[in-house]
Each structure stands twice: as structure tokens, then as C-alpha cells.
Symmetry: D2
Subunit: 360 residues, 4 copies
Amino acid sequence: MAPAPGRQERIPVAVLGATGSVGQRFVSLLDKHPWFELTTVAASAKNAGRPYGEAARWDLDHPLPESTAALVLTDATSPVVERLVFSALDAEVAGEIEAACAAAGALVVSNASSHRMDRDVPLLVPEVNPEHLDLLELQTWKGGLITNPNCSTIGLVLALAPLHRAFGVRRVHVVTMQALSGAGSTGVPAMAALDNLIPYIQGEEEKLATETARILGRLSDGAVHPAPITVSAQCNRVAVLDGHTECVSIELDTPATRDEILAAWEGFRGAPQELDLPSAPAHPTLYLDAPDAPQPRLHRDLEAGMACILGRLQPCPVLGWRFVCLSHNTLRGAAGGALLAAELAVASGSSPLALPMPQL
Amino acid sequence: MAPAPGRQERIPVAVLGATGSVGQRFVSLLDKHPWFELTTVAASAKNAGRPYGEAARWDLDHPLPESTAALVLTDATSPVVERLVFSALDAEVAGEIEAACAAAGALVVSNASSHRMDRDVPLLVPEVNPEHLDLLELQTWKGGLITNPNCSTIGLVLALAPLHRAFGVRRVHVVTMQALSGAGSTGVPAMAALDNLIPYIQGEEEKLATETARILGRLSDGAVHPAPITVSAQCNRVAVLDGHTECVSIELDTPATRDEILAAWEGFRGAPQELDLPSAPAHPTLYLDAPDAPQPRLHRDLEAGMACILGRLQPCPVLGWRFVCLSHNTLRGAAGGALLAAELAVASGSSPLALPMPQL
Amino acid sequence: MAPAPGRQERIPVAVLGATGSVGQRFVSLLDKHPWFELTTVAASAKNAGRPYGEAARWDLDHPLPESTAALVLTDATSPVVERLVFSALDAEVAGEIEAACAAAGALVVSNASSHRMDRDVPLLVPEVNPEHLDLLELQTWKGGLITNPNCSTIGLVLALAPLHRAFGVRRVHVVTMQALSGAGSTGVPAMAALDNLIPYIQGEEEKLATETARILGRLSDGAVHPAPITVSAQCNRVAVLDGHTECVSIELDTPATRDEILAAWEGFRGAPQELDLPSAPAHPTLYLDAPDAPQPRLHRDLEAGMACILGRLQPCPVLGWRFVCLSHNTLRGAAGGALLAAELAVASGSSPLALPMPQL
Amino acid sequence: MAPAPGRQERIPVAVLGATGSVGQRFVSLLDKHPWFELTTVAASAKNAGRPYGEAARWDLDHPLPESTAALVLTDATSPVVERLVFSALDAEVAGEIEAACAAAGALVVSNASSHRMDRDVPLLVPEVNPEHLDLLELQTWKGGLITNPNCSTIGLVLALAPLHRAFGVRRVHVVTMQALSGAGSTGVPAMAALDNLIPYIQGEEEKLATETARILGRLSDGAVHPAPITVSAQCNRVAVLDGHTECVSIELDTPATRDEILAAWEGFRGAPQELDLPSAPAHPTLYLDAPDAPQPRLHRDLEAGMACILGRLQPCPVLGWRFVCLSHNTLRGAAGGALLAAELAVASGSSPLALPMPQL
């Protein structure tokens, strides 16, 4: 694994919204991270001043690192001193706070939807559109802002990108079966989830369509031109803790055989793999042959939860091909994806983080 | 509700495969049925001779009727004396036993897949293709055989039929999220269902495609000509006890507005409603306006579990329109559907049951 | 079933806290009730003025009665005109509002814990301590107040009462496995319930001990003298929608055989059965012989959810006997229990409802 | 961690019953084990000859090690060449096969119940009764046999042992809420687990009582004299994947304060900790202060799933003290516990393994 280029010490980072479901994943992933050191955890004003270990209802199945437990929470609306900031804030408050951090000089990598569609903000999937990082140069903040797509978009885009490169993807029909953690740790009541599913997630179907087109879009003349891909999405919440499963049908521009499609996924590598980034999965798209794979409980943690797990590739009599993909929504789909984006920004030198922090 | 035409006493009926998940639903529905009286329960040889109440692991949340509990199980491979036989046998054994019953003069209404695609066997959804009952006349058995479609097909076909009549349905993309009971009461291990879903149900995707085309097909010259509808299905098992939910996208022959589609469902009635059959739902297709409906736990029992519950009608940028439908897989999708088929056969007089039982 | 004594028309009733989980059960049970007619539904101020069907997130698997859906919600803090009031308010606000209703002349039957331990308030399980209704005479309100015990207490007390009468119960050890609905429809997040259980329910262990002793206590000299029964309770929340299961071990004053204990449960009848109250279960304590009964999903709805379902009676080498009991926590343990209490108060004539409402 | 005493190379080991739920845990734990190397995987005759990776339905959320996937399954009834054999066979076949292996000279460490109560077979919990290994000398086989207790017993005994040492435990009341994996990967149908619990596990209540007394018993004159501890157990199956939770009440011989009990757990160490065995948890009994701990999903993997996690210590008005304990049933309660037993046998030199394998 590449060391952080030209650097002896780890870069101090802050996590905003650190007590929530995604915030906890950030905290967990930053423990022993080779490049980054968690120095600030911030949350809502009412928890400011409390030790993290006391205020956060730790929800993961491995223990909270003791050093992090002792960190005292700050108010997320206060300025942070770190030059790298991860935001797991709710969309309602994220927009303003993130802009303030970026204005103050930090590179903000956000998991919130607030700025995803801003003209000059990269909506980044590091293996797919690393060149969108060039948008950072257009930003007028002293620092910068990168956004992480919606959790269900990331899995889909990873699955589509190699096919889009090789054959062109024209139309996509996707039905998602999304995990509970995607709604936050208290977002779905147990009474609504047990012996049930909910065929609706507010705003999700729109996000899948618009974000996919933007991520697969081309950057030219300082703007992202969305890919001419039509996406129809139906989104469901099911009784799964982690891992979004998606049933996808696609129409390609150029006909492709089953072997060609499998080869496209098999060979897919991107900037994170080339740069050997700490959080990069060896195989960003991993196809499983078993007839009943992928399954969320069995496969979401493959490749440390950072890959898109694929299966069930079959001809689709309506659109051409269909398959199933699975991605871990709070790892690849949230904290892990944002971490990888930050690693790419740092390693590629294309980020404003490189300017104010020459020691990198 | 119409009385059984011209008849004072209830028709004695047998249920084959009475101890299983669908068999129990038959037993439950036949309790206090106005036309039919359960007189024989049959199961595998190893349970023959035992009281039903002892041999069946009753799995429903309402009590087993005491009179049925006392019925002594017979061997399903033995001849039955009843002229009306419901079969909930496993497909492996159903084919032969059902044929023997039909040969012996009974009208068999089967939930098994064995004979569904037989050229001269009606694959019946009473609201949709009652005229397929005419196939009975082509059968060479002394009695007759009617089949009930696959549980996921029934919900889909009910949703499609009114639209197909009004606008023509050309292409269908469907992703199912199917209940555990569809695999029988012990079909899915808890370890495979909890915090998980399985994106595969053996043979299901093919059945959805072929059965849908046959049911919506036209009977002429003594044969069913499948409707020219292309169906692409992806089938998933989810942690829901009862109720199959399906995300459907459709392409129509004739453009239709949202209001026209809603009106087609709203106004949909068929032979069961016209004949006021005992098990007929008032609204075979029932649309719910709530943005997050239908949900299996909340809505599967509407219309006594005999309707297709619809919701989330929206434009689909890929195919035209998309919606969600839900149907109770062991009621409408199995025992209830078969019961309704039997009622239709009896009431319409088109069945061989009318011949050997002139008192009807 | 006895008609409401000497009355032609149904008694108008109000339900406070009508939109919540228990409130919905009240609404459901009052539909078509032979004695009572739901005329007012009240909830928090923010919902006042909205139709019930719009404001309530109906959570039951049978449809909301249309007449109730049309009722306009009032503010629960406003005076109600009905002389019979059911309260499903949260404990935080219930105390004051219920007292105000009682002061204004209504008979309040409350499911909240606020007044359960008040010296002059009956904590009523109609089969067990109907004589505690005499406490109403000591109340200084113009109307009166009856409380329903905690949901886990009711099942336990029904199981214990016949044994206490026959043999004396001295010590009780109980471990509960309680349903999600006991915490309200949004009380437990799905992330906390799936693949998990929570060995803690705030305040529940204390309630089980103190309420049990009070309900089984003797009324004399105008006060309830708690029964000298020691109860040790450990309470757990498990992933079950409805139905509290309790593992109980007991020490008796007088030795009893297995047959004697079974006979005590078998023969148990109380005032509701003698008076043939509309909501009275035929068998308030129902023992099932199957080695793996009772189970919440299969048995909670026996006797319309109004009984304590028993099973697994075995010698306990530590205390004497042990068994398992199950009761439906939102029916018998909440709305159904309160309804039965109201029926008893009306039918027995011991209630103040009889005084200001002579037409009863 | 101590190296395997005096040994350069890893000891080859066989796993019988390798494809099942516990067998998979053995396979997983033996991957990269510092002392043991998995060389033979055996299963039922019908799978013999197939590669493990093909025959086993791998059910764990981390990948099957590739080297193990390639191992060809042998028939478990055939002789094995390894001197150390782990058995995860079903009790129906385990007894005979294990005896044959022991007779052939192997040290068998078994997870099956067949030989647990044999007079000369250690029923071992390494921290609790390491001296029971001396029973091996009484065995007449050329090799030897050690058994691992029932999964629910292990958690209980770990919790009791430090208290028994310090204060004497006289009477125990325990109610278990056991995980699905305890019944094997297909043991409980999903229809029986969802929205349900089962208050019965065949034979489990007896095992908890007799095994606990034996493990805490004293070895003298070549026999184990069971501890005079009365245990009353009620066992339930709940919808949890892994982790048995137990609500325990105890009566002590000598009164103890809360602090004394906590100190006994805090200070508890045994032979595995003293010998620094590879699979030994640092804290075999770990108390959590949170009011709602322990919870299976959150805490079963603490100490790598090898500890008894405790919480909720409170006075019990019936027996004295009560608490909740949790242990991972397929790790500490099965494969992990057996592995630790084998490590102890090897490291302590008290095992026959030391004799025929002098290179140790």
C-alpha cells in the first residue's frame, strides 16, 4: 500500500455528525488508518462537551476504540481546525456547515446530499470518475468540497461503469431492496420492518436517476455533462441490517455477450487500485457464480465492504441483460466511499488539500 | 351472495396435501364454506390413519376447526370418493395423483405446477380468463382438471389484466419480493432469512413469464394462444411471512394517462363478481393512495386476502408506467384462488362437475 | 351475551391518545361494540382538527372503519363530553388529563401508569379483583378512574390468580420476552430489534412486582393490602410484533399436583364470564398441551386475544413449579383489558357511571 | 502468546462434520491457527470425494479460506490419520465414530453430546475445570476423548464459576433466549422464527442442569462428584442469528455484595489465561455497565466471541442476585470452546496427545 506521499505524520481529520450511523462507521474506519488521524468528533450542540463514548450509542458489532471514546464532542456548527473534514451530517444542516468549513480552508468530503448537484462540486466514485476532482479548481472556497453519492447509487454506478466504458449503457431499470441502516440507526421502527417491507424511500428514486447520469457524465469546459442514460428506479426498504441489493436490467449501445460482460467486471480497475489507496478494494466489481448470490448477510463484507458484489447475470427479454448487485451501504455506500474519495484527493494531488498543506 | 345454484346441500370435497402450508389454508377456507363441505383430508402415506389435528402442524394464527381436527387422514395416493378435489400436493407427486382423480371422475382444482402447461388444462384466474374453462371439454378424463397459477403470477396477472384489456400490454418488467410461506412452512431456514434476502427462487422467473402469457392468451380452435407479452422477471425471497410484493414496469400498446390506468383498475370486475361467488373479492384490484403502500403486513389481508393491492403508480422513463402490487400468496395466490376457481366452475355450469352431479 | 343492562342505545365514548398503538386497538375494538359507541377521538394538539383517518398512521392488519376515519380529532387536553373515556395517553401527560376528565364527571378507564398506584384507584383485572371497583366510592372526583395494569402484569396475574386462590402463591420468578408493540409503534428501532434482543425495559421489572401484589391484594377498610407475594422479574424485548411470553416459576403455600394446577386454570372463571361481558374470553386461562406451546404468532389471538395462554407446566427444582404464559399485549394487555374493565364497571353497577347516567 | 511447547511445525488436525454450522466455525478458526493445521475435513458419505468449497454451503460472513475450499472431503466414518480430531458430528452418529477415532489413537475433542456424561470423559470448560483432564488417564482408548459442553451450559458455567469459587452457588434459576445457529444452519424454519419465539428446545433444560453440576463438580478418586447445585432451566429459541442470552438468578452459600460479585468476575482467570493459549480470551467474564447490555448483536463478538459477557447485576428478591449473561454459541459455545480445550490439553501435557506424539 502506498504511504501517504511525502509525509511522515498522519493528517488530522474531523468527523462531523460523528454519533450517527454513518458517523460511527467513519470513526471505526479511521481507527488505525495509515494516513489519517481522527482528532475531532463533532455532533449536535446538545451533545457538545460530552465524551464520544458516552454520547454515541455505539451500534457496531466491534468495540469502539478507546482513544476515540475519550474524545470530547464539539458542536458541529463551530469551526474545526482540521484541514480534512468528513461530514456525516443530516442533509437539513449539512449544506451550510459544510460550506462554512470549506470556506475556512478545509477539504470537506461529505456524505450528505446537500451539495451533490452543485455545478462545481465533484460527485465522486473514485474508480469511476476521478477526473471530476478537477471541479475543485472551480470552487471559490478557500478549501474545497467533494460529495459522496447516495448509498444506492454507488453500488449501481460501480456495476454500470465498466459496462458503460465497454459497451455504452443506454437504459437502466433498477429495483432496490435497501437495508435499514440506510435510514440511520433509528430511522425505521421495528414494527414497520418485521414481517414487512416498505416500497418507498423518500427522494431515493430521483437520486438514483440523476446521480447516476452525473457520475457517468463527462467533464468538459468546466462542467459535468450528464451521461445520456435513462434510469428508472423503484426503491424498497427491507428487513436487512446492512447491504443494499439491486435488481438491474440494462440496455446497451453495443451488443455484448455474457463473457464480455463478465470480463468487463472482472477486469475493472480504477485510480484507487492504480494508486493502491489504503481503502481500495482489490476487486471493485466482484462477480459470484452461485445461483443464489449475492446475499446481503453473506457477501456484504467481501472486499472489506468496499466492492460491488455481482451475480445472476442473465439475458433480459425486455432490455437485454439483467443482474443483481449488492453493496454495503454504510461502508462503500457512505463512510468507506467518502474515505476512499479523500484518499484519492490526497494522493492525486489534484485537491486543494495539497495547496495549503504543502507537507503532503 | 349467490347460493350454490339449485342445490340444498353442500358439495363434499377432498383436500390432497392437506397438512402443508397451502393445505392448511384450504382447510381453513373450507370451514363454514356455503357451498363446499370438507369431508376428506389426504396426505402422505406416513400420516394416513392419524387424526388431522394431530398430524398437521397447524401454522395459522386462528384455531383449527375442531370438526376438521377430528378427520382421519387418508393416503393421498388412494382414490377419493368426492367429486370435487383440491390439490395442494407437491409438484413431484401431484401430476400422477391428480390425473388419477380426474380419470376417476372428479373435478380436480390443483395448486401444483405439474399440469399448468398442459394443452387442454385451464390455467385459471377467474376474473381474467373464465372462458379458458371451455378447455375442460377437450379433456379426455371422466372428470376434469383445472390449475391455479403460480402465486407470484396471480398477483401480476390481476394487475395486468384490466390494463391489457383497455390498452394492450406489450412488455413487462417485474421484480418480486416474495414471502417465506411461498416456499412452504419449512422451505426457508431462519438462518437464511434473518438479516438477509435471497435473490433466487428456482423456476420462478420462467413461470412468471410463461404463465402470464398463457393466462392473458386467447382461446380459439380449442387451444390457448399465448398473449404476445414479453415478461422479464427477477424473483427474490424476503423475510416476510405472507404476501408477495412486485415492482412492475409496463409498456402499453396504446398510451394511457394515470387517470385512465387508475380507472381501469377501479372498474375491474369479472365473472366471480358478476356471479357473486362466495370467495370473490368486491374489488379484485384495489389501489391505495398512500405514498408508501402497499405493504405486506398492513395490506395483504384487505379484501380477505383475495385481491391484488396496488400502489405507487408512476411514469417509468424506460417502459412507460411503473407500480407496485401485492397479493396474499397462500390465499389469493394458492388456496383462495383455487377455491374461487372451483366456485366458478360450479356456478358457470361449464364444468364436468355439472354433468355427473345433475343436482347442481 | 348480556345486553347493556336496561339500555337501548349505545353509550358514547371517547378515546384519548387515539392515534397511537394502543389507541388504534381501542378504535378497532370499539367498532361495532354492542354497548359503546366511539364518538370522540382525541390526540395531541398538533393533530387536532384533522380527520382521524388522515392523522393516524393505521398500523393494524385489518382496515380502519370508515366511520372512524371520518371523525375529526380533538385536542386531548380539551374537555370531553362523553361520560366514558378510554385513555391511551402517554404516562407523561396522562395523569393530569385523566384527573381532569374524572373531575368533570367521566368514568375514565386508563391504560397509562400515572394513577395505577394511587391509594383509591382500582388497578383492575376483571376476572381477578372485581371487588377493587369499590375503591371508586372513595374517589373524590365527580366521575371516577379505573386503571389497567401494565401489559406484562396482566398476563402474569391471570396465570397466578387461580393458583393463588387455590394454593396460595408465595414467591414468583418471571422472565419476560416482550413484543415490540409494547413500546408503541415507533418505540423500538428496527436496527435494535433485528438479529438482537434487549434485556431491559425501563421500569418494567418494578411494575411487574408491585402491580402483581396490588392486584392480588385484599381490599379492606377502604384500602388495598398487597398480597404477600415476592416477585422477581427480568424483562426483555424481543423481535415479536405482538404477544408477551413469560417464563414463570412459582412457590406455593400449599403443595399442588400437576393435575390440580391444570384444573385450577381449566376451571378459572370470573365476573366477566359470569356477567357474560361482550369482551370476556370464554377461557381466561387456556392451557395448551403441545410441548412447544404457547408461541406468540400462533397463539396470541386465541380467545380473541383476551386470554392468558399457558403451556409447559413442569416441576421446578428451585421453586416448585414452572410454566410459560403468553398474552396479547395490546389486546388483553391494553385496549382489550381496559374495555373489559369498562364493561364490568357498567354491568356491575358499582361504578359512578351508574350514578350520573341513570339511563344505564 | 505461548508457542506450542517445544514444537516447530503445526499439528495436523481433522474436523469431522466439517460442512455443518459448527464445522464451518472449526474451519474458520483453524485458518492461520498458530499450533494446528487443518489437513482433513470429513462429512457424511454422500459428500465424500467432493471439494469442501463445493460441498459446504458456507454460511459465515467472511470468506472461506481458499486452501480449505480445495480440501477433498472424506467420509467421516473412515479412519483419520491425524492425532488430533475435532468432532462437530451430529449426536446420532458421533458416539461411535468418536470412540473409533479415540481407539485408533487420536485425541478427540467433541462438540457432540454423546459422551458428555461418560464417567471417564472430561466435560471441559478450560477456565473452570482444567483438572478434569486427568480423567483422560482413566480412559481405555489408545487415544483419548474430551467433550465440550452444550452451548447454553458454557455461558452459564463461565458466569457461575467465579462466584462458586468465591461464595458457593447453591441454587440457580436460568431462562435462556437462544440463537438460531444453535439448531444448525437449517434447524429452525423461518416461518417458525419470524414474529415468533419457541419456548422449547428438546433436551436442553436437562443438559443445562446436569452439565453445570458436573463441570463445577470435584474430581476425586477418579470420578467427578457433581457440585450440589440445583439448576432450574427454561429454554427458548428466539430470532437471533448467534449468541445465547441467559437471565440468571442465583442463591449463594455465603452472602456477597454487588462489588464482591463484580470483583469475582473482573478477576476471573483460569488455565487458558495463565498458559496464554492462542484462543484464550483476555477476560473470560466481562461485565458491561450499560443498563441495556449485553445484547447479542452488539456484544457477542467481544473478546473474539470467546467470553461470557455479563450485565444487569441486580438484587433478586427471590434468590439473592440476578444478572444477564451472553455467550457466542458457535464460537465459545462450540468450535471455539473445543479449540481452547484442545489447546489446553496440548499445552498442559496432561493429555494422551503428549504421549504418542513425543515431538510435542
